[in-house]
Symmetry: C2
Subunit: 334 residues, 2 copies
Amino acid sequence: MRIAIDAMGGDKAPAEVVAGALAAVDLIDDNELVLIGNEDAVRPYLEEASGWEKKLTLVHAPESVDMDEAPVEALRKKRKSSIAVMAKMAAAGEVDVIMSAGNTGACVAAAQLRMRLLPGVIRPGIVVVFPTFAGPVTMCDVGANVAAKPSHLYQYAIMASVYARQVVGIAEPTVGLISVGEENAKGNELIKKTNQLLRDDPNLKFVGNVEGRDFIKRPADVIVCDGFVGNVILKLTEGLAEGLFKAIGREIGRLKPELIPHFEPVIKSLYATHDYSEYGGAPLLGVDGNCIICHGSSNARTIKNAILVACKMVRSGVNAQIAQEIGNMSVTEE
Amino acid sequence: MRIAIDAMGGDKAPAEVVAGALAAVDLIDDNELVLIGNEDAVRPYLEEASGWEKKLTLVHAPESVDMDEAPVEALRKKRKSSIAVMAKMAAAGEVDVIMSAGNTGACVAAAQLRMRLLPGVIRPGIVVVFPTFAGPVTMCDVGANVAAKPSHLYQYAIMASVYARQVVGIAEPTVGLISVGEENAKGNELIKKTNQLLRDDPNLKFVGNVEGRDFIKRPADVIVCDGFVGNVILKLTEGLAEGLFKAIGREIGRLKPELIPHFEPVIKSLYATHDYSEYGGAPLLGVDGNCIICHGSSNARTIKNAILVACKMVRSGVNAQIAQEIGNMSVTEE
């Protein structure tokens, strides 16, 4: 297996991306890492590790897409960007999986354009495995598609259920749909129509609408939402957890400063089991190939973990199963 | 001022609603409370307080709308429900403000139908004052309108800015728009068009799009979003704060059980200043009258605080100012 990594993608690239790749080399058996990026920028970080040439390959891509560039336009203008080069290599079968912590929109667009979609898939969706205190929640979509239709959300339910089964290891995953109330009639038109599609499919274990309040209690194994709402949920949760820990720390400092050293290991222990970066990367489901989207703020550990997620995804055969189940479905709404 | 309270609304009605009303009686000067609900159900709780007849009035409404009923249908069928009777009294000028912890959709529909909207307002929106650790965030809409258009969100920005100025006490409130990225081009069509409207209005202090990640840091005094997203944010934050506190408690119990008694006052202190129920009620802005939506799980303290919010709202003259500023705006999109 050849794993391509966008060395230029993310707030901390290329330093942390290269460090993450080097950290993963010994954990991926015979599989091969391919770093894609500007040689001048990447090589200095590689040379800190002696004998790196034996462990991974560097492919030169002179350009890179900035985090705030308009995705489609950037891809059109920067045909030699690391993201564009990487997607082209995947389309040509030169690598088995691509990953980037860079511009999410550009990565989604490049994958969709070059690698194409699995037969029957209408839109790809980003799936995140969310470490709640009650166990992992598989959520789709968290930002690939901010103009979702009921048929897209219906397919996200199918694709995320396959992912939960084959990668997360949940035999018969239940599915919940984010809405403003549990009753089937609660929500906007998108949600009401999706709710009907999910209820009508006997192959899904649909438990109904779920509310934001219950999210952390893991109301279902799989949570479906449109990319706008999913992205807000993901980022809000991240910001809120960080904010609350800080506020508790400040309050302990104010009321009982002598307890601070005792409190730190508690937070560290919580973070160790529930930190999003432990999961590393978020696969873009629905693409005819393997594409992993990493958090823009990824550090070396996140990248290392994302590489392991990439290996797991390729080995899981999740795409063949998605193609089969999407083929079996009967979409009644577009 | 006469303040009408739906005695039948909410998960803990009528017990907690009546208790909240009785607790508020001495805090509202010469203003008068009117409890609306089924006499047989409400009276026993009132009679626990001697001399209650001198403090508040009970108006009989034989029916009540259940939490999970379809709003418009419920109002059509249950013309003698507490919500319907209350809204009719407000329309007739018999009460100055109405409040309910019951079916939000029914309350919004009744207010819109009976009390009508302020001149120029297209859709009412629920405004919540959110106690972040960095100060209060005034957020609109959190659930009145799940099919928002750009012109609705634009008006929410205006109405919530007036509310932040006249009720929360922020002289020149800044406005942020929830999206999936800070750049103006990030988001779905609704957000992109709203972003343009907000940028074009020189009377608003628009700071641009804000992300879920920064919500807790209070990226703006006023946050605008559609009712679906706002409702998810509100409930997710609630559930997450509760879940995190519990998880920390469990982790302390596992790692350092002897610290639990020291940790409890820290949490209590945080809750005392940042508990949503301290703010009590959420006004429905845009209605030609005063309507306060309370949390379905409201307890006596929440109801008491909501009554104080109701007094403040009526006295603030917020509606006259909203009518004036909505009159001055030039909507360029519907």
